[in-house]
Symmetry: C2
Subunit: 268 residues, 2 copies
Amino acid sequence: MAYRPQLTQASRPATFPVTATDETGNQVEVEIAGEHPLTLYLDKHEIVTLMTLGAAPEALIVGYLRNQRLVNNLEEIAAVQVDWETEAAAVTTRHGVENLDRRLEKRTVTSGCGQGTMFGDLMEEVGHLHLPDDAELTEATMYALLDNLRRYDTLYKRAGALHSCALAKGSDILYHIEDVGRHNAVDAIAGMMWLDSVDGADKIFYTTGRLTSEMVIKAAQMGIPFIVSRSGITQMGYQVAQQVGITLIGRAKGSHYLLFTGQQRFRK
Amino acid sequence: MAYRPQLTQASRPATFPVTATDETGNQVEVEIAGEHPLTLYLDKHEIVTLMTLGAAPEALIVGYLRNQRLVNNLEEIAAVQVDWETEAAAVTTRHGVENLDRRLEKRTVTSGCGQGTMFGDLMEEVGHLHLPDDAELTEATMYALLDNLRRYDTLYKRAGALHSCALAKGSDILYHIEDVGRHNAVDAIAGMMWLDSVDGADKIFYTTGRLTSEMVIKAAQMGIPFIVSRSGITQMGYQVAQQVGITLIGRAKGSHYLLFTGQQRFRK
């Protein structure tokens, strides 16, 4: 059986009802998305405060540590304890994190609706990533996946302040996660993959969010050869996609899509 | 005349053409949004790398310094020099920033599609903010503003990976800015307001983005009593809006809207 750290199961309710006035002047009860600060302490060092929906906080924390390259093996993580009372996620490692102080010192905060610390380091890694050449996605499978994803759209549609991400094998959805930030959603997927020992090589990463450089880098880091997004792509997202040779499909909605890069893995 | 620091005028082209394959199998040329790293150096200290469209980089940098409370008066800024060759924005202050090292040390990186450093400090400030009680917005004016905003939608619609923000007085749009991140767009508006000595008290802040806590805090910091968004709101955005007493309207699209907080300033 795959190794699992000791984990709490501290998910928060996804939505909260509030009363608003609509254009007819009526008082209506609407569901709004939860947003909670969660401060990550790695062996008692404060690392980051994530603003999250809180649907899968343990997976989010594990995926954050993975994607930021703060922990290199799941086995290094002994426990993740999320406590909403103190808004804290305490992570205990087995042997400590090497050079943590130095690594935190040199971190560069990046932005652009980006979560991102340590972006510079991630960009350096891009050159070393290799995605499988033999993976294939057909148009019919992609349409079937988009169809399946429609069933998951309820919270996104109801509360309207969320991004969702999914990991799929063919048209089968393995994970689906929503969060107030694009980066939290993809980090939570990365955490789930680690916790369940799921490999990215034959998977498809789906996001409702825009394909900025950081999103493409994260999918490539997880070894996933396909990204499908409902939204558009930025110039740096496109450049990174070309560089790592990922198959990138944007504006996928209804029967429309735009295949931007990695054409060789896609069959009509 | 209002004080102006020495500024470059280094805007970047908003979109770049790439070739994609659409669902009919045709090669189509599409415009995608620019995304460029821009590293802020404050008196030669590296502060942050922003990923930006680059439409108004000097205003973005000034607004970032303002919203992060790194500089308290525009007069403190002697020069902002943006150089895309080196991807750097060099800011020179008149007297240096007090306790910069200590302030950078204690910064907490926040996330959730949030740019935000120093979120904790911002939250502390919320209690001290006061917005004008006598400002008023009528439904007719809001509809007229939404109508005017439609003319600005072209780039957002064309490239599809952008957020836009606007500052309006009544239905008149004073500034309109697009960026790859919600926070960059609002920071650029804050910078323009500072550079032009524009007060927020009788203005409306519009955003296509979601109203998370950080967005509401930033609008309140600028002294703007009205926020209108095309998107939804999160629970913390709602709580902050209640706390500072801002008038917050979400889901404003076509003839629909939801008035969440600050009803006393809104007239049907």
